[in-house]
Amino acid sequence: MSRAPGADLPEDPDFLWDNPDPKPAYDVVIVGGGGHGLATAYYLAKVQGITNVAVLEKGWLGGGNMARNTTIIRSNYLWDESSGIYEHSLKLWEGLEDELDYPILFSQRGVLNLAHGLQDVRDSVRRVNANRLNGIDAEWVDPGQVKELCPIVNTSPDVRYPVLGGTYQPRAGIAKHDYVAWGFARAATVLGVDLIQNCEVTGFEIVRGRIAGVETSRGRIAAGRVALCAAGHSSVVGALAGLELPLASHPLQALVSELLEPVHPTVVMSNAVHVYVSQAHKGELVMGAGVDSYQGYGRRGSFHIIEDQMAAALELFPIFARAHLLRTWAGIVDVTPDASPIVGLTPVQGLYLNCGWGTGGFKATPGLGDCFAHTIAKDKPHPHVEPFTLERFVTGALVDEHGAAAVAH
C-alpha cells in the first residue's frame, strides 16, 4: 500500500465486447447481464462447450448490483453447504485474472469480522472452528492482533461496543467489481456469446410445461433453455414465468469517501455495530451498512441508515472524522428467509433459477457461474448448489446463514 492512490489501475483495454442484435433462437438464454449472468455465460461456453448463448440485459452490462456492492470476497461461512460454494468460488477468484486474461485487481488483503460481545465471541470462535474443519483458512484474533492487522481500528475498552477480538480470513479480500464484469463479458464475447443490452424480458413462452422462448422489448427469442440471473428483481421476472419465490427485495446502501492516502490495509466488518470498510485501489474508503427494513425497488435508502453506519464507522475508526463523503447509492437485494441463495431447477422444464443471494452475491460470482453453467448444461444441480433448492422451504432443510451473512437483514 505504499504506491500513490490509483497507481495500480490498469490501462483501458482496446476491446471489451460486441453489441449484436438478438438472433431468432439460442440454445441458452440468460436473463440478467450482471456478474452472475456473465459468469454463467462464460463457463457455459468455456467449460460446458455451449456457445450459442445470449445474455439479455434490460439496462447495461454490470449496471445493477454488480456496480453497487462493496466488492468483499470471503468464504468464512458457518455451514458445510455454504462453505462448499463460497470456497469453490474463492479458489476460482485466486486464478481468475489469468483465466480471463484481464486485470480484476483481486487483492487478498484479508477480512476481519469483529466481535463486540460475549455471544459474538462464542459465535465467531465456533465459526472459525467450522471453517477449519472445512479446510478454510480462518483464525481467531485478539484485540492486540486486530490492532496489528489494521492499526487504525480503535481497540480501546472504553467505548460503547469494545472490540473483543475477531475472526480473520487471510485469503479473503476485494476485487474491482466493474473489471470483473468486463473481464467475464469480454471473455464470453470471444467465445461466441451474444451480450444484448437494452433488452428487457417481458414474458416467457412455456409450451406443455417446457420453456420455448422469451418475449423481450426487442422481439421474441426462441430458447432451448432459459436461466434467470435477475438478482434483486427475481420476484418480478420469476412471476412472468409463473414462479412464486420466497424473496423480499430491500434497498442496501453503500457509500464512498473522497480519495485518501492508503490508511486501511485490510477489510474490516462488524456485524454488531454494523459497518464494513475497505479502501479501494484508487483510495476511496468503501463502506456498507445493513439493509433498509422495508421492501422496495427504489434505488435509494433511508438517511438514518447512513447516519447509524457513519456513527459506527467513527467509533471504530476515529481518524475518519474529517473524511468527506463523496457519494452514496443503493442496490436492490433479494433476501430469502434463511439468508442463503436459491439455485437450481424449477417446475418449468428447461427454466433454471438463480436468486436470493441477498447481500452476498458478488463474492460468489465465479463459483456460481461455474456451478450454474453445469446445472444448466446437465439439467441437474451441480453438487455445490444442490442444497440450495427452492424445495428446502417446504422440506425444512434450511441453510441458516444469518450469522455468517455479516449484514443485518
Binding site: S235, P246, Q295, Y297, F393
Partner: protein, 92 residues
C-alpha cells in the same frame, strides 16, 4: 428523511416506526390440517411486487399502534394508510 403518516398521530419521521412486512396475512384457521406445502407458504412466501404493496407498520416510538399502509415500492410513496381491521383501499 421520509415522513410516514400515522393514522393517529399524523406525519412523523421514519425512525419512529417499525416495519412489519406484508399486511393481511391471516394465521391458519386450523393449523393441524395444513400440509407441509401450505405451512411453507404461510411461513416463508410473501408478495414482493414492484409497485403498490399493502404492508404493516408500527408507530413504535409514538402511539405504539400498528396500522396498514399501501406504499409504492418503486418510489416509496405512501398511497394510503388505514387501520388493521379495515380492508385494503382500492388504489387506481
Amino acid at each position: 428523511m421520509q415522513l410516514i403518516p400515522c393514522p393517529w398521530c399524523g406525519p412523523r419521521e421514519e425512525t419512529e416506526f417499525h416495519y412489519g412486512g406484508q399486511a393481511h396475512i391471516g394465521y391458519p384457521q386450523d393449523p393441524s390440517a395444513l400440509s407441509d406445502e401450505e405451512w411453507a407458504r404461510f411461513l416463508f412466501f410473501r408478495a414482493n411486487p414492484e409497485g403498490p404493496f399493502a404492508e404493516r407498520w408500527s408507530h413504535s416510538a409514538g402511539c405504539r399502534r400498528w396500522f396498514n399502509a399501501v406504499r409504492d415500492t418503486r418510489t416509496h410513496d405512501l398511497l394510503a394508510v388505514y387501520r388493521i381491521d379495515e380492508p385494503r383501499p382500492v388504489i387506481s
